[in-house]
Symmetry: C2
Subunit: 138 residues, 2 copies
């Protein structure tokens, strides 16, 4: 399993994530995106209006490296945030002649997952006392 149960539960509870991609000239982009956690494949699937025409989608053709983060503010007093960052590579699914029922979409294959504040007890202490959970996949 790519994702833990805690991670799946968290991903399913949030509506937006933010996707970092790199343009061919090295310019970085950060884009708010809707997403689904594809449990069967162990991927994050990102869809959106006119996806195949978007720059973030095109960026993957020259540089498939991406980072994706989901976060939320659980409480402001005291300050408590949660986040789940996924780094890896992404593929363009369902373009051109291969277009099927799925696409077009961006499919992220995680290579590293870092979470913060998702474990039981994490939100009971000051944020800087939380130890991030980090793991490398593949």
């Amino acid at each position: 399993m790519t994702f833990t149960n805690d991670e799946i539960e968290y991903l399913n509870s949030q509506d937006l994530g933010r996707l970092a991609t790199a343009q061919p000239n090295g310019t970085l982009q950060a884009s708010p995106v809707g997403f689904t956690c594809n449990i069967a494949l162990g991927t994050i699937d990102i869809t959106g209006y006119n996806m195949a025409a978007s720059q973030k989608f095109k960026n993957l053709a020259t540089n498939p490296t991406v980072a994706f983060v989901v976060d939320d503010i659980v409480s402001r007093e005291p300050w408590r945030v949660r986040c789940l960052e996924i780094r890896g590579t992404a593929e363009q699914v369902g373009t051109g002649s291969e277009r099927g029922n799925e696409g077009p979409l961006i499919r992220i294959h995680p290579t590293r997952i870092i979470s913060f504040g998702l474990a039981a007890g994490d939100l009971d202490v000051e944020p800087h006392q939380i130890k991030p959970h980090k793991r490398t996949l593949q």
Copy 2:
């Protein structure tokens, strides 16, 4: 003025942004961060616990290219989102012997600003009917 009044008002209304940076080996990172809109300098200033030790801060030494995005969901029914993306370069402020009252912090100098949903009337129509506002600085 780097930022318009609408952009300043929006930035000041939001607590978290997400910062995209690139590690020396090309791996991308996406990090939720607290920030302030520095109107006098026309920059976005990012502070945080143990900032100088963070990977996102260190990344700027080898690659100052960044993207930063703030977004929020105004309404789910109908679906209405706003976002403001800032692309540019970032500097490490207040490190080492230069450490002053300000730092350490990450200071983003915008070169391109793209907003969506911030203009009057934008939220009265379907998201795909909104024309993004894009401009290049410097």
